[in-house]
């Protein structure tokens, strides 16, 4: 009775799919159902919430800038240069993506913390990183930049070098060819990478709280504020949580609907 078995198999797989979906989505749905628009508006008046939102926007923007400034050249080098030990370098660069964020925070502490390897040197030039907003940006960048580098590198690698050559042969300097031809042609990969990095930075918790601490208005980003208010002020916690949920969903949905990289 093949057909009956096939129907049964379909049924079982369908049920499994339904359970998976419910397990992943129900808590998120509950979060949204647990709040009303009135609650949200009220939550948005809380200074803890406002400070956290402001700080999260500033620090994630800083993270994006830092990621672009160093990640773009890094991705280009990995994609186009002959780098010895490329495989190892790429594995190492992907490490922060899979490392527990707390470990990343500790790693940053022992590197650029007051008593870290580079701490005294930084102190000598008057730079104290831990427990500052800059530390938040560093923690987020450390954890989130690899998403951009990975995506951008893949985008550059997939681009036919003939396009750069065409631009160069038509009189473009290396820089002009990069900005006016390579970047537009790899824009989908670059934007996708930036989106993932931003979403990851926005949700960053472990590395931030370990390395930058939890000071309202200075290092207390939205996830940290959710953690703190969850015990004392559930309404604020839910407001922030819903906001984070909406932002993350928006980014992912936008990335999914983005056009695939052009293969001309």
């Amino acid at each position: 009775m093949k057909p009956l078995r096939a129907v049964l198999a379909r049924f079982v797989v369908g049920i499994a799919f339904g359970i998976a979906l419910a397990f992943l989505l129900l808590p998120l749905l509950a979060l949204v159902l647990h709040t009303t628009p009135g609650d949200l508006v009220a939550g948005l008046r809380s200074p803890v919430v406002l400070d956290a939102i402001r700080l999260s926007l500033i620090t994630t923007l800083g993270t994006l800038l830092l990621t672009l400034a160093f990640g773009l050249p890094a991705a280009w080098v990995l994609a186009r240069w002959r780098v010895p030990g490329r495989g190892l370098i790429e594995a190492a660069l992907a490490l922060p993506m899979v490392l527990p964020p707390v470990v990343a925070g500790v790693a940053l502490l022992v590197t650029v913390g007051a008593r870290g390897t580079m701490g005294p040197a930084l102190h000598a030039i008057g730079l104290r990183l831990p427990f500052t907003t800059l530390a938040v940006v560093l923690a987020q960048t450390f954890v989130a930049a690899p998403f951009f580098i990975t995506s951008a590198r893949a985008g550059f690698q997939a681009l036919d070098p003939g396009w750069e050559e065409a631009a160069r042969a038509l009189g473009a300097s290396r820089g002009y060819a990069f900005w006016r031809v390579v970047v537009p042609l790899t824009a989908p990969a670059l934007v996708a990478g930036l989106g993932l990095t931003w979403a990851r930075a926005l949700g960053e918790f472990g590395a931030t709280i370990t390395f930058a601490g939890n000071l309202m208005g200075v290092t207390q980003t939205m996830p940290l504020a959710v953690f703190v208010t969850a015990e004392s002020d559930l309404r604020s916690a839910i407001t922030l949580a819903v906001l984070l949920l909406v932002l993350a969903f928006t980014v992912l949905a936008a990335l999914r609907s983005a056009p695939l990289p052009a293969r001309a």
């Binding site: 396009w163 065409a166 042969a169 038509l170 009189g171 473009a172 300097s173 002009y176």
Partner: protein, 364 residues
């Protein structure tokens, strides 16, 4: 102003060596202003590498390159000018119009890259589109252009800076046959009207025939033959050129005989030619000069080769017949449709091919 090597007033002069991996390219170019030089060869012969060397995308392993008195490469002094410092324009095989720019912005690209601001660059680009009578394509994106339109835009883009050297990389290859003819005619009308030097690389003999003032045939990185198209066709020096030109070319050993003639031993066959020659030679026979017979022909003035028909391809008013003879010898004959029918030629037919001693070209 001519350079120190300059036996030419302007134009292109270069001796370039490029060795990388299996390819060992050696080029020696002397192209007067206004001339079109064709590099003809099969894929893998080094044509595209040659073009990339001229464009400055590659650094020669050895040699020098001079255009209109300005040195672009000189490995003795370490001079290598990057592409943006060369007066070049280039058209690629598949057009390579930038897909994110409109036709107009594609044409304006070389001007913008050279630092011209947007408005004047676009104005200039628009002029070139008008010159090619494609101004209505200005706002179209490359994805919405046909093959022929793309190549016209690409040509405008290559010429917009009025370069001293125009490089064409198989510019017809991606076009369908009809468009190819139209674009070829336009391009032919455009080339050679000024001081500009044009270098075209192609595997298409017709491109060479239409455009070339001078042709170099490349095989595995080396120039195996050089001359006008006429010279190439009459005296091919390789199987590749012979095939392109539709000539029979055989290699053999010549021995003088009395009366200003010679005998050439080609494998098992001995041919008589009405020319003086001695030693290793090429023998060229035009297919139209080969006559076919079912019975052994009489008359000592003719060379006769016995063979079997391997292929008979009908052409306009004629039939192109390929024969296989003893010793792996292959001969092509072109006969009229009439005689093909009379001889009842088909694959496997045994025939005698004959040609006059006066119709054989013998050369070293």
């Amino acid at each position: 102003m001519a350079g120190p090597h300059g036996d030419l007033a302007g134009g292109l002069s270069g001796d370039l060596v490029y060795a990388a991996g299996a390819l060992n390219l050696r080029l020696s170019l002397r192209i007067p202003p206004g001339a079109t030089h064709v590099l003809l060869g099969e894929s893998g012969a080094g044509k595209t590498t040659a073009l990339r060397l001229l464009a400055g995308l590659l650094r020669p392993s050895e040699g020098r390159l001079e255009l209109d008195g300005a040195f672009y490469d000189d490995t003795t002094t370490g001079l290598h000018r990057p592409p943006e410092e060369r007066s070049i324009g280039i058209v690629f095989q598949q057009g390579r119009l930038f897909p994110h720019l409109s036709a107009l912005d594609n044409v304006a690209f070389p001007l913008r890259a050279a630092g011209r601001s947007a408005a004047p660059a676009r104005e200039r680009a628009a002029e070139w589109l008008r010159r090619f009578q494609i101004e209505e394509l200005a706002s179209r994106m490359p994805a919405d252009l046909s093959g022929g339109e793309s190549q016209r835009v690409a040509l405008a883009r290559a010429l917009v800076r009025e370069p001293a050297l125009l490089l064409l990389d198989e510019p017809m290859a991606a076009l369908d046959v009809r468009t190819r003819q139209a674009v070829r005619a336009e391009l032919a009308a455009l080339l050679g009207d000024r001081r500009r030097v044009t270098v075209l690389v192609t595997h298409d003999y017709l491109d060479a025939a239409v455009f070339a003032d001078q042709v170099q045939v490349l095989e595995r990185g080396s120039v195996v033959q050089e001359g006008t198209v006429q010279e190439l066709v009459e005296r091919p020096r390789s199987a590749y050129v012979a095939q392109l030109a539709g000539m029979n070319v055989l290699r053999g050993a010549a021995r003088m005989v009395e009366g200003g003639a010679c005998e050439v031993e080609v494998g098992a066959v001995r041919l008589r030619a009405a020319r003086e020659a001695e030693g290793p030679v090429f023998v060229a026979i035009a297919p139209a000069h080969v006559t076919l017979h079912r019975l052994q022909p009489e008359g000592s003035a003719r060379n006769v080769i016995e063979g079997v028909v391997t292929q008979a391809v009908p052409m306009a008013g004629r039939v192109r017949v390929t024969l296989a003879a003893a010793g792996g010898l292959v001969l092509v004959a072109e006969v009229t449709r009439q005689s093909s029918m009379e001889l009842d030629l088909e694959q496997g037919t045994a025939v005698f091919a004959s040609f006059k001693a006066t119709e054989i070209e013998v050369y070293r």
